[in-house]
């Protein structure tokens, strides 16, 4: 190759020395306001991982294994920080969504297979969110045939009518319901010493049951759709490389909050259900089971959190899917576009919402099977997605001077290896059975 590589950064003019100094001097004063402008992608993508599927997994983790596996949640949170940060950075630096980049770097076939899998998994996950809304509403005595259509209309109206800023603010307000879980956790009077030990001392009985729950915890925390979403969102929010430090704060805040909320769910279930030897299979059951042990308030808070989390995720999922499909096919994709300018974008949005809600409402649909298959698909999809992201992050042509160095790439590889190990162990155990 005869020419020097041309990268986005090479085309930048050298900054004037005085300007650099001015930047440094003013740095501290502007930080808070800058952060507020950037906040959103990380917080939303992180918090929406505490959706009904997530809460269910955390409930089971706590109810079956007490405080012992809390460290799995810690590891998941660290992986979440790593890859959400990576996704956001790729979005900001390239200005492109994950689907378009995978198509550009890995070809049409790889991109299409990945995105088709993502769409199927997202429809299933959307169904899981609406199922969470249905279960939560029924705890309050509201029929699912009322609650689910109402929720579908509400989230669609928010996303489609509210425009970009509207959605973001409403969603962030909505995520306040997660405090409910923290309250529920405290009301259950947990053994904090045991919880702290479980969080930092990694022990695990190596059984099929624990491997499943550990993999599920990793998979539900680090969801493929969340990774796709954060990248598109960072692009759509028109963030620049100057925002990267703030974006990192945003991502870490979102991921840590996600982890903390998960921790309180686990703790609440460990302190009550595990102590009593009760078993649960879904989050609504966990809420119900909390009542005799921690009081009606704890139950109601748990159910409210479930509905709020489901609404948040149900708003993001169709949107994330639409971004990916439009991006893959090179069609216009922005919430600010009119329906006639971006038909594919809005058609995908409608399809995901309608099918997702329909799966919950139509009698005779084997919903449990759909939800289990979705979890499996999400776990399988996660690996190639992380590998793609890793490849893009290391690509000098795409990332320029923001390319991940070999040293910085190490943690990604460790995380990918850990997830591979979990999925492989699970696969082996399934076959052995």
């Amino acid at each position: 190759m005869t020419a020097q590589p041309q990268t986005p950064s090479d085309t930048r003019h050298p900054p004037v020395a005085g300007v650099e100094n001015a930047r440094r001097r003013r740095g501290r004063h502007v930080r808070l306001s800058m952060l507020l402008a950037v906040v959103g992608p990380g917080l939303l993508a992180g918090l929406s991982d505490d959706d009904p599927a997530g809460i269910t997994t955390y409930s089971v983790l706590g109810a079956r294994h007490g405080y012992q596996l809390l460290w799995v949640l810690l590891v998941s949170t660290i992986a979440l920080i790593l890859f959400q940060d990576l996704g956001a950075r790729i979005g900001v630096v390239t200005g492109q969504g994950i689907a378009g980049l995978v198509r550009q770097r890995y070809g049409a076939r790889a991109a299409t297979v990945a995105i088709v899998a993502l769409v199927v998994a997202n429809v299933g996950t959307t169904a899981a969110e609406f199922a969470g809304i249905a279960a939560g509403a029924e705890l309050f005595g509201v029929s699912r045939y009322l609650a689910v259509p109402a929720a579908a209309l509400l989230v669609s109206a928010l996303v489609l009518q509210g425009g970009f800023r509207g959605v973001q603010r409403v969603l962030l307000a909505l995520s306040a319901v997660f405090i409910a879980y923290i309250a529920a956790g405290i009301l259950s009077h947990p053994d904090w010493g045991a919880a702290a030990r479980g969080l930092v001392v990694p022990t695990m009985p190596f059984t099929r049951d624990t491997v499943i729950i550990a993999t599920a915890t990793l998979g539900t925390t680090l969801a493929p759709w969340g990774l796709a979403f954060i990248q598109s969102y960072a692009v759509d929010k028109r963030l620049t490389t100057a925002d990267l430090p703030y974006l990192r704060v945003d991502v870490i805040t979102g991921a840590v909050l996600t982890g903390v909320i998960g921790l309180f769910v686990v703790v609440a279930c460990a302190a009550t259900l595990h102590q009593q030897g009760a078993t649960v299979t879904d989050a609504a059951q966990a809420a119900q089971a909390l009542e005799p042990l921690a009081g009606r308030l704890a139950r109601d808070l748990f159910a409210a959190g479930l509905i709020g989390a489901a609404l948040l995720a149900a708003s993001i999922l169709p949107l994330s899917t639409s971004y990916a499909v439009a991006d893959l096919t090179g069609r216009p994709a922005a919430l600010d576009d009119a329906v006639r300018d971006a038909p594919l974008f809005y058609a995908t949005f409608a399809a995901v919402t309608v099918v997702g809600a329909g799966l919950v409402l139509v009698p005779g649909v084997p919903l449990i099977s759909v939800l289990v298959l979705t979890q499996v698909l999400n776990a399988i999809l996660l690996l190639p997605l992380l590998a793609f992201m890793y490849g893009i992050a290391r690509d000098h042509g795409l990332m320029g001077r923001y390319r991940a160095t070999r040293a910085a790439a190490g943690p990604y590889l460790v995380a990918i290896a850990a997830i591979t190990l979990c999925i492989a162990a699970l696969g082996v155990m399934e076959v052995a059975r």
């Binding site: 630096v93 049409a108 425009g163």
Partner: protein, 414 residues
């Protein structure tokens, strides 16, 4: 369609020598960007066993989806080394973003077509259709049964530079210049970051400034923050002052300072002065491009001044007549100057109706009321002692009002 050869379809196709013996399989098609609308194919990258070799285009007798043929039995196999200006059509162009200049939109290439033109293979078109995309996902057989669908003539395409390749949009596509600033603004909004930067720097600075004026506020803010302060300063300096001030307002303090520092002091001082006025008051809306003349000037003299200010024609709908102390006497519409005799003194055109004025601190409602009452195309902004400071054109007011349009929720109305 006959004669169009799909580049995606060529991948994996067997290359035979003149004797019909298999040499290898086509991995990619090499073309050279540069002169002319239709880049010439300079060769093929061929997979021979585990090696990748380069076959010069002159050695290729025939390219077709069902097999390619060399013109001799002997093959000169060299390692492929990318020369300046050369691109790999499959690896570097297919699935990447391009600008369709004719349709003024950003597209992603689903497939490319080469054809034999004057005894050479040339890149002639790009397919952006869904079907072309889908057939590449299927088996190779499907990939080779090519039905061109949504093909754009390569002459209407502006490609971007590639990693490692020195060709940039520096000699921008001829037709890019024919696009309206609004269309260019839409293109910039749809492109990835490096492509966007490349397109912007490929435009003439004055055009680029016009394009920025047309951009959505959020996108404009992003462009300015992403550009080097010196480039942002240059572009802002070329924008109309009121537009430049609007753009500066949307930036964080340190970004704004960086850009102002990179400007010539005079421009920076002027813009800083304008920045001091609140956004939704007369001072924040007005443009400071005023053509000021005295009553003793002749109409012909004023016309000469107007000719010099041609660049700001959009901001001038009347000429301000001031007295010796620079205080406002009248605002003479261009129409009056056009129909008046060249030798006549401007003073003779001064008279009722007197111009509508507001002070710099007049709020938006007052400006709108005055404009409606006056039914003119602009208002003058004056200071407390009657010195003209700027002009508010009806379209500036439209911009301010339009900014609140389409924002359905109260919190969206900044």
């Amino acid at each position: 369609m006959d004669g169009l050869i799909s580049v995606a379809g060529l991948t994996g196709v067997v290359l035979r020598n003149a004797d019909g013996a298999e040499v290898g399989r086509i991995a990619d098609v090499v073309a050279r960007w540069g002169v002319g609308s239709y880049p010439a194919v300079t060769g093929l990258v061929v997979r021979v066993g585990a090696r990748q070799a380069f076959v010069h285009a002159e050695q290729v007798a025939e390219l077709a989806a069902d097999g390619a043929r060399l013109d001799s039995a002997r093959l000169d196999l060299r390692e492929f080394v990318r020369r300046p200006g050369e691109v790999l059509l499959r690896h570097d162009v297919i699935d990447h973003q391009l600008v369709d200049v004719d349709g003024a939109r950003v597209v992603r290439a689903s497939d490319l077509y080469v054809a034999r033109v004057d005894d050479r293979y040339r890149l002639v078109g790009v397919d952006v259709g869904m079907r072309a995309f889908l057939r590449r996902i299927g088996p190779a057989r499907l990939r080779r049964s090519v039905v061109p669908e949504r093909v754009i003539d390569w002459g209407d395409v502006a490609p971007f530079s590639l990693p490692g390749a020195p060709v940039r949009l520096r000699t921008p596509h001829e037709r890019l210049r024919e696009l309206q600033p609004g269309e260019l603004a839409d293109l910039l909004e749809d492109l990835g970051r490096s492509e966007r930067h490349e397109l912007l720097t490929a435009l003439a600075p004055d055009t680029a400034a016009d394009v920025l004026e047309e951009m959505d506020q959020d996108d404009l803010t992003e462009m300015l923050r992403d550009a080097a302060p010196s480039l942002a300063a240059d572009l802002l300096g070329r924008m109309e002052p009121d537009e430049a001030v609007d753009a500066l307002r949307s930036l964080a303090d340190d970004d704004r300072d960086a850009i102002l520092t990179a400007m010539p002091t005079e421009t920076a001082d002027h813009l800083t002065g304008l920045l001091a006025y609140p956004k939704r008051e007369a001072g924040g809306i007005m443009t400071t491009h005023l053509v000021m003349v005295h009553a003793a000037d002749t109409v012909a003299g004023v016309r000469a001044v107007l000719r010099e200010r041609r660049a700001h024609s959009e901001d001038v709908d009347a000429v301000v007549v001031v007295d010796e102390d620079g205080r406002l006497l009248d605002d003479v519409p261009l129409f009056d100057l056009l129909v008046a005799d060249g030798g006549v003194l401007v003073g003779s055109l001064v008279g009722p109706p007197w111009p509508a004025t507001v002070t710099v601190d007049a709020d938006l409602d007052r400006v709108v009321d005055k404009l409606i009452a006056n039914r003119g195309s602009s208002l003058l902004v004056v200071d407390g002692s009657g010195h003209p400071l700027g002009r508010i054109l009806a379209d500036d007011v439209l911009d301010v009002l339009a900014a609140t349009r389409g924002r359905r929720w109260p919190w969206q109305q900044r």
